[in-house]
């Protein structure tokens, strides 16, 4: 008897598969192509550095991969889930469960403590209560900011704030974490510490990551470097 092979499960599937993704904005009544037929596969536990100058389409790529934006054309599959054409509500649910973000600025909610900034991910998502509190404490300890759990963001240094933001990004046990210029607001030494931390934390969890940067020095922390210029990937 012939057996049909099983389709890959979500855990077997690549962390990210972009196929022919195009994003066109309307600027002053004229179409502007931000991402031009981009195709990229990111395997599980792989760290990709996405390097490109300002206006090259890095943010658009990151937004589409993270479910913040729908593409004009092409398909986006994250951890086996095809999110192409999801409506805003389903994209919110997808972001709650599947991806983590570390942004360049405004990374923490200023009226929440470091610990609460992690717990808020559970609050808007799965609401696991005690399990989430245990996970938040564990993550903060692992990231070296456990003793800062009750501090407000304005009581933390830039490096500590990024560590807390990384903890928040990992809080929902994501398949893919997107880092948007995570070191741009840090001095060189602190930036390198943060990148080493990203490398070790992401690597130890088997999570995939895309680090968007315009700094070539960051690429040594990645498994692979992808360049983007004028919306075109050289993957």
């Amino acid at each position: 008897m012939n057996k049909t092979p099983n389709p890959p499960s979500a855990t077997d599937a690549p962390a990210l598969q972009l196929r022919g993704v195009r994003k066109v904005y309307e600027v002053g009544g004229q179409p502007a192509v931000a991402l031009d037929h981009a195709s990229l596969t990111v395997e599980r536990a792989e760290i990709i550095a996405l390097v490109g100058p300002s206006g090259s389409g890095k943010s658009t790529f990151c937004s589409i991969a993270g479910g913040l934006l729908n593409p004009t054309e092409g398909s986006v599959v994250v951890a086996g889930e095809d999110i192409t054409g999801y409506d805003p509500r389903r994209l919110s649910e997808f972001r709650q469960s599947t991806v983590g973000f570390v942004f360049q600025s405004a990374n923490l909610v200023p009226f929440l403590t470091a610990r609460e900034n992690l717990l808020v991910v559970d609050e808007v998502g799965r609401r696991t209560g005690a399990a989430a509190r245990r996970r938040a404490d564990k993550l903060l300890d692992e990231l070296g900011v456990g003793e800062r759990a009750k501090n407000m963001p304005n009581q933390l240094s830039g490096g500590q704030r990024q560590r807390v933001a990384i903890g928040r990004a990992l809080m929902n046990e994501p398949q893919l974490v997107l880092f948007d210029e995570p070191t741009s607001a840090l001095d060189t030494a602190t930036g390198e510490q943060v990148m080493e931390l990203i490398r070790s934390e992401i690597g130890s969890r088997g999570t995939a990551a895309i680090v968007v940067t315009h700094d070539e020095r960051i690429t040594r922390f990645a498994d692979r470097t992808v360049h983007i210029v004028d919306g075109v990937l050289d993957a």
Binding site: F94, F111, V120, R168, D180
Partner: protein, 373 residues
């Protein structure tokens, strides 16, 4: 709840300030509501809290006990209208009296039949039944109108003994006495021996079974052209001056009713604009717009409930005192009405902030635009 309450806890000074501002504004509304009620009661409480459900004035009496005179033929016509069950004369006059060692003026209301025109809010003693007996306004007790006191009519010297006290039976903001109609005739004769008898100021009427107050009013007005019948409630609001008081206060309430939601709406709009980046971040990490709206609503309701609670806490002790000669009372109905109305207005005032929240795009966490313009 998580975001909303944590933010209140961390920014408690700004939330305390807006709660205090709302509390003071709501307190002013409640206090002025009580003031209005106290003023109206002191002017026409004797009409509002007497036993007759329908009052018949002379048509040219301007719906006023002072100005109305019921002539004998009109009285006869009113008594004979189909549907009249009980009818009795009500007289009224303002006299100089000696009470508590002071000479003052007092309004005296005389009723022929206690079923039509006697006070309904007796709080101590008993109803005036015999000649020389009177029921006095309770809040005038300290001025020599207490239970067991004797009031002397000047000039003439006729003495009235206070046998009962009733609340909220003031007339023309003066100490007020209710007596039998016969006693009122004696008072008039004593103070003005030249007077030629006492004409009733109004006829109090109770409809017979199966006839409503409004139906009887209509029948009397149709059958007796020289009479103007009013239900008790209409008699209160038709008294000259009452409508003007109510209109003035309505204008004040309207202004407060606009200011409070404006304060709430502006506060939450500024707050929403200030934390636009945080809201964008929350949207990016998966918070739905509904979650953020719900958090905003929790904050609005918390602020309004605390503000109203503060207002009631300030209002309660003040509402049981006297303001000058004006007795104040706790207005439960007003508290409930304003609490519900302001809560609804407060929520409506947050609609602009809600709109701003709905316009937040999660992608702006990356582009850094905050709230879209």
């Amino acid at each position: 709840m998580f975001i909303a309450l944590h933010e209140i806890r961390r920014a408690w000074v700004r939330f305390a300030l807006v709660v205090t501002a709302i509390g003071l504004l709501v307190f002013l509304i409640l206090f002025q509501q009580t003031l209005q009620s106290g003023l109206i009661t002191s002017f026409v409480g004797a009409i509002e809290h007497q036993s007759s459900p329908v009052l018949v004035y002379s048509v040219d009496g301007l719906c006023n006990l002072e100005g109305s005179v019921i002539l004998p033929d009109v009285e006869q016509d009113v008594r004979s209208v189909d549907g009249v069950g009980v009818a009795g004369r009500i007289g009224q006059g303002t006299f100089s009296v000696r009470a508590g060692g002071q000479t003052t003026s007092a309004a005296i209301v005389g009723f022929e039949d206690p079923r039509v025109g006697a006070p309904t809010t007796l709080v101590s003693g008993r109803m005036a039944a015999a000649d020389g007996e009177a029921v006095a306004l309770e809040s005038s007790a300290d001025e020599g109108f207490g239970l067991g006191d004797t009031v002397r009519v000047e000039p003439g010297g006729l003495e009235l003994r206070i046998v009962g006290q009733a609340s909220e039976i003031g007339l023309h903001a003066s100490p007020t006495l209710f007596t039998t109609y016969g006693t009122l005739e004696e008072v008039l004769a004593s103070s003005n021996p030249a007077a030629r008898g006492l004409a009733p100021a109004a006829i109090g009427v109770i409809p017979e079974g199966g006839v409503s107050d409004a139906q009887l009013v209509e029948r009397i007005d149709r059958a007796v052209p020289d009479a103007e019948a009013l239900t008790r409630a209409d008699a209160v609001t038709s008294t000259p001056g009452v409508a003007q008081i109510q209109q003035s206060f309505r204008l004040i309430f309207l202004l407060y009713g606009l200011v409070i939601p404006l304060v709430t709406g502006m506060f939450f709009l500024i707050l929403t604009l200030q934390k636009a980046q945080s809201l964008t971040l929350l949207r990016a990490v998966g918070a739905s717009a509904g979650y953020l709206i719900w958090s905003l609503l929790i904050q609005v309701v918390t602020v309004m409930v605390l503000g109203i609670g503060l207002a009631v806490a300030m209002y309660t002790p003040l509402s049981s005192r006297r303001l000058g000669g004006l007795p104040l009372t706790f207005q439960t109905g007003a508290v409930v009405f304003w609490a519900v109305a302001l809560l609804v207005l407060g929520i409506l005032s947050a609609l602009v902030s809600m709109r701003r929240v709905l316009r937040i795009q999660p992608i702006e966490a990356i582009t850094g635009a905050g709230v879209t313009a």
